[in-house]
């Protein structure tokens, strides 16, 4: 029977060759293909459309995100992104305890609405305990109270051409050369009408703190945190996302993040 029996020298050669393949991973070689606007990156980003369609098919319209029990709330909700907007209008509203706040609902609607916090609190409400998943990788369980977005949309009457709900926010993010850029986000009508999609004004049984988006923030429980706009200034029903911001449907989307954040 013939066998290969390796002696010490052959062993060392083999080990050397194997080890020398490791630094091949040096990856700045790929940076050019992956910079924003590069073709390879654009092609790969198309996979998000596939994820969107497949997940929509699997989840169905009303599949619910998991809800937890009171005992699973073990810490406060970790604030992230903006935690204290510096917009002058916002500061004035905050100082007055948001008494003068009016949520503006417009765009492709039958009736334009301007709703105060009290009016929102007097609408149907929903409370649920869910897990917030941040795109960075962490998760945090908290109890959210708010008005179902569908109730607000019904009150305004959505025109049939509307395909997205756009949220404009008070907070801005500093983008260096581009200066301060206002946060905005968008979701499709299916998520907008989902029973767990709420405009939250309460967190863990208390009024929503400023760090978490007071007076009003969005909860879209089947997507990641960056979809859930904080400090909502106005809501607009639109048929196309291209005219807003850089056209990708949201502040982070304009910086290269996927519009559909179900994963």
């Amino acid at each position: 029977m013939s066998r290969i029996i390796i002696n010490r020298r052959r062993f060392l050669t083999v080990a050397g060759v194997a080890a020398s393949t490791l630094p091949l991973a040096g990856c700045d070689a790929l940076d050019g293909m992956l910079s924003s606007g590069a073709t390879a990156r654009d092609v790969m980003a198309k996979a998000n459309g596939l994820t969107y369609r497949v997940q929509r098919f699997l989840i169905g319209a009303d599949g619910l995100a998991k809800e937890f029990s009171e005992s699973e709330i073990r810490q406060g909700q970790r604030p992230n992104g903006s935690t204290d907007p510096t917009d002058a209008t916002y500061i004035a509203l905050r100082v007055a305890g948001f008494a003068g706040y009016r949520l503006d609902v417009g765009g492709l609607v039958d009736r334009r609405l301007r709703l105060s916090l009290d009016e929102l609190r007097n609408m149907p409400s929903r409370t649920h305990i869910t897990r917030h998943d941040c795109v960075e990788g962490w998760s945090c369980i908290a109890k959210w109270t708010g008005v179902p977005l569908s109730a607000v949309l019904d009150e305004a009457g959505v025109k049939s051409e509307a395909r997205y709900v756009l949220f404009r926010c008070f907070d801005t993010m500093n983008l260096g050369l581009s200066g301060e850029v206002a946060y905005y986000e968008s979701i499709d009508m299916l998520d907008a009408r989902h029973p767990q999609t709420i405009l939250a004004y309460g967190l863990n049984g208390e009024p929503l703190p400023v760090a978490n988006g007071a007076p009003l923030r969005l909860r879209v429980e089947r997507q990641l945190g960056y979809k859930m706009a904080k400090y909502i200034r106005s809501i607009e029903l639109v048929s196309d996302l291209a005219p807003y911001g850089q056209g990708k449907g949201g502040f982070w989307e304009d910086l290269g993040y996927d519009w559909y954040a179900g994963i």
Binding site: R3, I4, I5, L30, V43, A47, N48, R131, L255, D258
Partner: protein, 284 residues
């Protein structure tokens, strides 16, 4: 017949067979490429929040940490890489947490040469990861379906009873770098490939999907089987380490067993086997 052959020169004892079918070869190289990108983009994603936990959520006000890799300021005022594993603090300056030359330090959990892109860019890391996740899942499903139908799974991957009994012997042979070039995989090869293909690959896909809030709504049982979303993230990471470990040994073995013959078998399908084994087709 065996005696007749022995009279000839040693090379005529060798026979070339067709070892790997087209699907086995194409899927292998596809997942090799996909795994390369998944690993490097995965480490980019990890860098965005370089901490792993058990359970459903990340403990900020309580401690359920398994692993964290951070940059901290040391006693001398210089940045140090601090890796904490189950509460054990390990100084990993230069490799994890803080890396790069003294004058241009990089404060990332995994250094740039282990991530795509090489600089901090979570958005692109995710774009790359999910593109190759689709490719990888499609490749795995194709491999599985084809191997089920053409018998590759039953014949070459699932270890038989005698493979398992012969395992200690097979292990010792490998340790001594004695390789038999036979028609099929040795017992040890079968078991390691079966673990990679039937346990680690599916685990990687399932724990990846478990981290998806969308999939949680579609399949709430996913987080239940893995013990929560953050636990799934930890398992995803550990399975990644196991795959990297397998890969290191795998490459080493390919070189040790004769890289030309091994590579030819995985590229063209043709493989040169030892004389005796060709006739019996048996393991020993």
């Amino acid at each position: 017949m065996a005696t007749a052959i022995e009279k000839h020169d040693i090379h005529s004892q060798r026979t070339t067979i067709r070892r790997h079918g087209i699907v086995t070869r194409v899927t292998h190289w596809t997942w090799a490429v996909a795994l390369f990108f998944l690993l490097l983009s995965g480490l980019q994603i990890f860098n965005a929040h370089p901490s792993l936990y058990i359970g459903e959520q990340s403990g900020f006000a309580f401690d359920n940490s398994v692993l964290s890799i951070r940059a901290v300021r040391g006693a001398d005022g210089n940045a140090e890489g601090l890796t904490t594993l189950f509460g054990r603090r390990i100084d990993t300056t230069g490799l994890l947490g803080v890396s790069g030359p003294e004058d241009s330090r990089v404060y990332e959990a995994f250094p740039g040469w282990l991530t795509v892109p090489s600089y901090h860019d979570l958005a692109t890391g995710r774009v790359v990861h999910f593109f190759f996740a689709w490719l990888f899942a499609a490749t795995f499903i194709s491999w599985f379906a084809a191997s089920l139908i053409n018998g590759h799974l039953r014949r070459d991957i699932l270890p038989s009873f005698s493979d398992i009994r012969g395992l200690p012997g097979s292990f010792l042979e490998h340790l001594r770098f004695r390789f038999h070039h036979c028609r099929s995989y040795t017992g040890l090869q079968k078991i390691s490939y079966a673990i990679v293909l039937l346990v680690l690959f599916p685990l990687m896909i399932l724990t990846g999907l478990t981290m998806s809030p969308g999939m949680n709504a579609a399949m709430p049982w996913l987080t239940e089987i893995f013990g929560g979303r953050q636990a799934a993230r930890t398992i995803h990471f550990v399975v990644m380490l196991l795959l990297v470990g397998f890969f290191a040994i795998h490459i080493f073995m390919v070189f040790a067993a004769g890289p030309i013959n091994e590579m030819r078998s995985m590229v063209t399908g043709r493989y040169r086997i030892d004389g005796e084994a060709a006739e019996g087709g048996s393991e020993r």
